[in-house]
């Protein structure tokens, strides 16, 4: 094994631009016998420290690489950790071998030569649960499959809920609607499925005592129905050897607790958990069991100020109380806390800004790890670019101003700022891809009273399109609203509806209306006679002929009669001939991938496996299955795009992302939308800027609190406070993404001295005081714009 001092020296020798600061060194040097809790600010190198600690366990503590388990929250983060482990670890091992050879230590060299860092395990806890289920299967049983969320939802709706919902509708709607995003009873069966699944997830993730919950008053009948649906679904999944993520984790926990799992997997001698602030009670229980049974080194890394996923069950209190919980529940030594607060990402101006933001509201202090981490210190030097403010009177003007800034910055001259400084893109290889626009929502079109209204990203797209600047916003539109997707799916419907009545089945009214619109768009597209529309010998043959042949069942030259069975996917792929964008544009590839993913998942639960048959009654029924299991779910927005699918992010376009998507990322130039939509103090928008009531998620947390051990800890802060806390964390994450330039943008009325649009993002405190507004002496006319904001307006 390698000496600790030598390990650090060799690491610093291989990473020429990186030396460990005192706190990072402390984290790496802490003995494996001491559980370690690292509280790390944004840009302070938490992933780096986690990876280094894993390498230390292998090289210094001589823990076998396959006994090192690193978990994180997303697949993307897991890939990043693995990449760093290998790209740092291999040169480090090479350097240590060089040193061993120089010292004549052949034994050490041979040991190092045999180390295989690829054996180190890194992934999401879900992925490990899936792997572990394989370890506890019986001989002869194949590797179990864990269903994607979409398939799980369809199965639940089809096998359990659909048949029982109408009988219990009156009972259920009021109860489950209270915890829906809008607090209203479900508008459709699809909404009801979403609402009840959200409650089910919580029952599982929070380790709720379902027996006590289902008997408790009031609403005991509704609760009984909710619990019975969960039981019935789990019984169905278990009976058919299927799992969803929640059931997989529940099974693993049960097997860990009864001692039947741990002996069958590789020992976990070092457990390292990233993003612990987004852990839920079920995951905590699994981690604690592994820690107890592995009796090895444990490290958790997190930033309580960046916990964003309460709506997915994340429970930040598990991190803020980690020391005590770990000690009490596992009986292992009490963890030591280390803080990382030296920021390598941002300029001092940006660091000061987000430090001020997180400390602005004293009421937030109680939500943080105690004592809170020290203010973040910048490691970079100042370039004299203050945080910028870009506020205009209308959305159009705001979009135009953002486009001006972008064009200015990425021009050869750069953008001259009021303080005489010039902000310019990187002279070599700089491009719009170095900038990002972050917002709470990046939807380009929003439905309001049944009408589609443009959201601010839509104004931005129009403005940038007019100037020839690309925009990359794969989440900007729901799959169902994307023009090419609508035409493609409309063509699928046109090809399959040979009677004109195929779609007359039980699907939601909304889906029915949308599919009809898609078909109209498809018919209009056919009339344009898009290329390819001629055969090589010059004869006219195009999309219209293709669609008509499908409807009439008239076979092409390859078949004498129409084939008895044909895959729907083949039809989709063939239609791409008339859609060059799906073939060539990476963003449209993501849409296509989402459609095909829906189709393959639907194939698992659909009676005809997404094959189209040609003999009745299967001909009609197999086509109806396409309506029910593909077209309607996309129309109902059950499935959407996932930007993780992207192979490359285009360098020539402005990135547009939700703040949640941007977590863990950094950009040289960051625009944060703090209020492009806030034209007045509208009640419906308050949850996005200054909530006047608790969120549905916190309401559900409190509702279940009496039946779960985490309940008391979680509701120690009132629901409304937790709702505010989430908003503070969201903008803290947004502001801390910027490396060199941070631009806050919105409508100018947000900065009016007398504005009534209260907004957490612009430093309003929940006691309704405003940090940017200094009072003025009585009798003095107030200024138009707020008088103590730190922004340099441009």
């Amino acid at each position: 094994m390698v000496k600790l001092k030598e390990f650090i020296a060799a690491f610093e020798a291989t990473q020429k631009n990186r030396s460990l600061n005192a706190n990072q060194r402390q984290c790496v040097e802490t003995a494996p016998t001491v559980p370690l809790m690292i509280v790390a600010g944004p840009g302070c190198g938490k992933t780096a420290v986690l990876v280094l600690r894993a390498l230390r366990h292998i090289l210094v503590d001589a823990i076998a690489p396959d006994e090192v388990l690193i978990t994180t929250f997303t697949k993307k983060a897991a890939k990043e950790i693995r990449s760093r482990l290998i790209s740092w670890g291999l040169p480090l091992v090479e350097e240590l071998r060089r040193r061993a050879v120089a010292q004549g230590d052949t034994k050490q060299d041979a040991w190092l030569a045999r180390l295989d860092l690829n054996l180190c395990k890194s992934g999401t806890l879900d992925s490990f649960c899936q792997e572990w289920l394989g370890a506890i299967r019986n001989p002869g049983e194949p590797q179990p499959i864990v269903l994607e969320e979409f398939a799980s939802k369809i199965l639940f709706a089809r096998r359990v809920f659909g048949t029982a919902y109408h009988a219990n509708k009156g009972l259920l709607d009021g109860y489950i609607g209270a915890f829906s995003p809008d607090g209203e009873p479900p508008h459709s069966q699809g909404d009801a499925v979403d609402d009840i699944k959200a409650i089910h997830d919580r029952l599982v993730q929070d380790l709720v005592n379902v027996g006590a919950y289902r008997k408790s008053k009031p609403d005991e009948h509704a609760k009984e129905a909710v619990a019975a649906h969960l039981e019935a679904f789990n019984a169905y999944l278990t009976g058919t050897s299927q799992f969803n993520f929640a059931l997989a984790a529940t099974h693993c926990l049960a097997h860990l607790q009864n001692g039947t799992l741990y002996p069958k997997i590789d020992p976990v001698t070092a457990l390292l958990i990233d993003e612990y602030h987004d852990t839920n009670p079920l995951q905590e229980a699994i981690y604690f069991e592994i820690a107890k049974q592995g009796k090895g080194a444990v490290t958790v890394v997190a930033d309580d100020d960046q916990s964003l996923y309460r709506f997915r069950g994340a429970t930040v209190e598990l991190f803020t109380n980690f020391q005590q919980r770990f000690f009490t529940i596992t009986g292992l030594p009490k963890p030591k806390i280390e803080y990382l607060f030296l920021n390598y990402r941002s300029t001092p101006e940006i660091v000061t800004f987000f430090n001020d933001f997180i400390a602005c509201d004293p009421a937030f202090t109680g939500a943080r790890v105690q004592p809170p981490k020290p203010p973040i210190s910048p490691n970079r030097s100042s370039a004299k670019i203050p945080v910028l403010g870009l506020f205009r009177d209308t959305k159009e003007n705001l979009a135009s101003a953002i486009a001006d800034v972008l064009q200015g910055v990425f021009s050869a001259k750069g953008l001259a700022l009021p303080n005489g400084q010039v902000l310019r893109g990187a002279p070599k290889d700089g491009g719009y891809g170095d900038a990002v626009f972050l917002a709470h929502s990046v939807q380009e079109w929003k439905s309001f009273w049944g009408k589609a209204n443009p959201g601010f990203p839509s104004f931005l797209r129009t403005e940038l399109d007019n100037r020839g600047i690309g925009i990359f916003n794969p989440r900007g539109q729901a799959l169902r609203d994307i023009d090419a997707v609508q035409r493609l799916l409309g063509l699928v419907a046109e090809c399959l509806d040979f009677t004109g009545t195929i779609g007359d089945i039980a699907i939601s009214m909304d889906a029915r209306g949308r599919i009809a619109t898609w078909r109209t768009l498809a018919q209009q597209f056919i009339l344009t006679n898009p290329p390819p529309n001629k055969t090589p010998d010059g004869k006219k043959r195009g999309l219209a002929e293709f669609v008509n042949a499908w409807r009439a069942g008239k076979p092409g030259p390859g078949f004498k009669t129409w084939p008895g069975e044909w895959p729907l996917l083949d039809l989709v792929y063939t239609l791409l001939a008339w859609f060059p964008m799906f073939q060539n544009d990476p963003e449209h590839q993501i849409y296509l991938e989402a459609i095909t993913r829906c189709l393959t998942q639907a194939a698992n639960v659909s009676a005809y496996g997404m094959s189209l048959y040609n003999d009745e009654p299967h001909k009609t029924r197999s086509r109806q299955a396409v309506w029910r299991d593909v077209l309607a779910p996309i129309a109902d927005r059950v499935i959407d795009v996932d930007e993780d699918m992207l192979l490359t992010v285009p360098r020539d376009r402005l990135n547009v992302m939700t703040i949640h998507q941007a977590k863990g990322l950094e950009f040289p130039l960051v625009f944060v939308d703090v209020g492009s939509e806030f034209t007045g103090n509208y009640e419906k928008q308050r949850f996005k800027r200054f909530p006047d009531k608790h969120s549905s998620v916190t309401a559900l947390e409190s509702h279940l609190a009496p039946y779960t051990t985490i309940g008391a800890l979680r509701v120690a802060r009132p629901d409304l406070d937790r709702t505010f806390d989430d908003l503070v964390r969201e903008y803290y994450v947004a502001y801390s993404r910027a490396q060199s330039a941070l631009v806050l943008c919105g409508l100018d009325r947000l900065l009016k001295y007398n504005t009534n649009i209260k907004n957490v993002a612009t430093f309003w405190r929940r006691d309704e005081s405003w940090a940017w507004r200094q009072s003025i002496p009585a009798g003095v006319k107030p200024p138009a714009t707020v008088n103590a904001h730190p922004l340099m307006e441009i």
């Binding site: 049983e141 891809g433 996917l569 095909t596 997404m610």
Partner: protein, 396 residues
Amino acid sequence: MDLETRSPHAMVPAYSLTGDLLSYLRCNRQYRYQNGSSLPPARPVQLWFGEFIHGVMEAGFALWRAQNPKFPWPCTMVAWDKREQGMGLKGHDVGEIGRRVELVLGRQGKIPRSKFLRESAYARAEAAINQLGPALFPLVAAAEEPLSGSRVIPNTTGDLLRAERYELTGIVDVLTDVELTKCDPNNIFRKALESALGKLPPKFEVIVDYKGARRPPTKAKNGGPSGYWDQHFWQVETYGWLRRTRTTLPVVAGVLLYINELAPSGGDIAELKEEVRDGRTDVIPDAASVDRRNLSRWESGQDTLNLLSMEFRLRRAIRVIEINDKNINFALGEFDKTVLDIEHHIAKEAKIVDIGKVWLPTCSEEETCAACDFAPTCSKPAGQKKPGDPPPPHAP
């Protein structure tokens, strides 16, 4: 102030030997769609069969090790519409093992698509279990062993790529000398290894991989190199390199098992006939043998299952490839070049943002193109001399 360039996260992309590299070598464009974007095949016939065979063999081995049922195992194929509930068959019935594997594959959208394919898959699985199992299972020291290793991407021109290294992954079964020397000298694997390698070292390992395919020809129809034959060779050598990092024993050979050879289809026999005639395959029936006579007399539509002797079928099913430093270096060099090429394409796509201009069709096999989902939009399918706009597609 000049902004910095947004640095992509240091990536170590993972490449699977069979899933990525061999697929890229088949066709750049198809690789981009199927591997880059994960667009699923419309008819995952090959995928289904390959995974079905792997699943049955893995489950069969686990059952054999746990319960050691006597060979031959029965094979009662469960009707398609009974596959959910089953027929209450014994656990080691190949029909029951297959049913369970099929259910899992079905939940991933992989289904056999035709009665014929399903029946032939069960016939092959039954032959694999009962013909290979008794000789193979006792030799297996580790089943479904995941392998991985990291390599530097040979970016000698210093181009801006997202990665400096890549991770190579694969899964194999491992045989060790201990098991091999304990077994009957007439064990087909022992004999095949001794015949291919001559004297074996005192201690060693052998890796095994199943192929849901027939034995590839050693040369292409035009007399040039045979893609699959060579690529399978690289694959074994690379697996050998990966396995060497996990064991102190010398890894001396790889055994590829071409399962289709055990129960060939009419198409397989027709191709074999042609290859024997043209001297493009390495395992041929002896000139005066019954197998030779049966093969030469066979005509399309006739029985194939009992056409050739099991001894001959097993010889064709088993391919032993010697693993040594020279071969390994050659194979790794080929894979490094392939990864570099893929990474160049990825970098180019990020720059010019047009998939069609970056990932060009490169397939030279007409059969592969005929089965390709993206053929209706392909500008240069195999056999077409110059690229051109594809004609409007027909309905089926």
